[in-house]
């Protein structure tokens, strides 16, 4: 029986005001937004490390914080596990002692120590001191420690932010395992889109203390306003390149090395897919990777074709234009963004409603998502 976290908090600190309200049930809720959006503050209030001015925080029926009833449970009573950006392992204890630190037994343990050690592959580290661990190892231990504290929900505050690319790639599979293995609400704060794409079941986008958008990962993160917030540097580039996020399933691999991928737009093929048959992945398609054609293409090397009609067109600077293509076979299917030169758009006389074919190079498609930091 998994829990539901209900959050509604307001907090003012200087000129910054946090005002957020949402519910999180089992699965990973990604909380994403630029630096200073208030994500960490939000997590601190939920954990009990900071006190909101107003609001309520509930775990199922149980109030952890409620200004109306004057309840404010201290962190040790909230049954929430927390993983911090800087691991925060106790330097004077071994890994094993760190893992088994929590004495909290208010609810059934999630798992045994052996299982967690196995899951996170930290068996060889047990008698070592934090001092002698790499960043990635420390974080795995930190995650294990939080899991072994019988939490009803897990709060993760940018756990990979202080790791380099190689370490992040190394730890990702463990996080994915977490999400499949345990049935609890996990709030995963990040400012990195790719982590969110890989892990989140639903997403909350924050900006300046407020929730800008929330919902399913693909829909929410494909929104232009969200993308400009989460991807683009407002100061360096006023027209960040739109990215289309789409959920896909990896299909069979053919004899000539091509994978088929099931997407809302039909079956695409690509050679550079890492993953196995049946894996659910999210594809991230950059607007520049699409070529548009006003006629059905023949004689081209491109294999992936999406037939549709022109939806919105927005200017992206003096020479570029972003075109939203709606797939024609299914009006509810996710649209895809393409970026072309303005000249091309003019010469092709593109107008909303016109039929259009979007072509996607197969070699460009990859599910091995580069985990690079934004900006």
């Amino acid at each position: 029986m998994s829990s539901v976290l209900s959050i509604s908090v307001q907090k003012q600190e200087g000129t910054f005001t946090l005002d957020a309200e949402f519910e999180a049930s089992a699965g990973v809720t990604g909380i994403i937004g630029p630096s200073g959006a208030g994500k960490s503050m939000l997590l601190s209030t939920i954990a009990g490390l900071a006190k909101p001015d107003n609001g309520s925080i509930r775990l199922d029926r149980h109030a952890l914080f409620d200004t109306a009833q004057n309840i404010n449970l201290s962190p040790e009573h909230r049954e929430l596990g927390m993983v911090f950006q800087d691991a925060r392992l106790f330097p004077h204890m071994t890994v094993k002692s760190n893992l088994t630190f929590s004495r909290r037994q208010t609810r059934a343990a999630l798992s045994t120590v052996e299982e967690i050690v196995d899951l996170l592959d930290i068996g060889s580290l047990l008698s070592r001191r934090p001092h002698h661990l790499s960043g990635g190892e420390k974080q795995r231990v930190a995650i294990g420690r939080a899991l072994l504290s019988s939490p009803a929900a897990l709060l993760m505050d940018e756990p990979l932010a202080s790791l380099d690319l190689a370490r992040r790639r190394e730890i990702m599979p463990f996080l994915e395992r977490l999400r499949h293995r345990f049935d609890l609400p996990i709030l995963y704060v990040s400012h990195n889109l790719d982590e969110t794409l890989r892990l989140a079941d639903s997403v909350i986008v924050m900006d300046q203390g407020n929730i800008l958008a929330r919902g399913g990962v693909e829909q929410t993160l494909s929104r232009i306003d969200v993308q400009s917030l989460v991807l683009g540097g407002a100061t360096t580039n006023d027209h960040p390149e739109p990215v289309t996020i789409v959920a896909a399933t990896i299909g069979k691999r053919s004899d000539d090395g091509l994978f088929s991928i099931e997407t809302p737009w039909g079956t695409l093929t690509a050679p550079n897919i890492t993953g196995r048959y049946g894996d659910q992945v999210r594809l991230r398609i950059r607007a520049r990777d699409l070529v548009l054609s006003t006629t059905e293409p023949t004689g081209l090397s491109i294999r992936n074709v999406i037939a549709g009609e022109v939806g919105i067109m927005t200017e992206a600077g003096s020479a570029q234009v972003d075109v939203l293509v709606r797939p024609s076979h299914d009006s509810n299917a996710q649209p895809v963004w393409a970026r072309i030169t303005k000249r091309a758009a003019t010469e092709l006389d593109l107008q909303p409603g016109h039929p259009i074919w979007a072509l996607l190079k197969a070699v460009v498609l990859t599910s091995d998502i580069e985990l690079e930091a934004l900006r």
Binding site: P75, E76, R88, H92, F101, R104, R129
Partner: protein, 233 residues
Amino acid sequence: MLELTNAEWVALSLSLKVALTGVVVSLPFGFVVAWVLARKSFPGKIILDGLVHLPLVVPPVATGYLLLVLLGVNGPAGAWLNDQFGLRLVFTWQGAAIVAAIMGFPLLVRALRLSIEAIDTSLIQAARTLGASPSRVFVTVILPLVSPGLIAGSLLAFSRALGEFGATIAFVGNIPGETQTLPLALYSALQSPGGEEMGYRLVALSIVLAVVTLAASELLGRAVRRRLTGDAL
């Protein structure tokens, strides 16, 4: 090897008893004060800091006299102690221990404060999210992390207590077996013509004690640091 007379043994064991008791008694207070000075801010904090350092700067005899006024049987605190517990401090080794505690206090607080200031509060936060009550956090996280400062401060205070003279002799007198610690015994020896030989032995004893305390401080300090970081030093 040093052959000690009975009087010298008595002085040595009394010194150790008094200094040890003094340090043990001052530890909890020292910890609280160091914590408050390290972590809290409030109006008058600088006055507290000054008060803590008084025993360092006030002439010991003046401190002894002050203690007589406060903790003597007619003093405000002393009268209470006598009424409630039948405890009289003047002319007793307990009184000498109180003097030892007070004279070592500023050294204890200084060392502890440094250690406490160096504690990473984020570790405390982490411990709390893992369900540790404040007392468990104290025992499992805070104490181990301040142990270097605790040890250094305690040994410093202990050394200071071993050498304490002026306030002791003014407050509890110079009573062999009861309040005559090593420094007082040394003083008495030198006051009588012909007491030089005993004086030299007591000096040698004091030096040995000082060296042993220093060595203990060094070794303990290293062991603790090693335990904290897991490094072999």
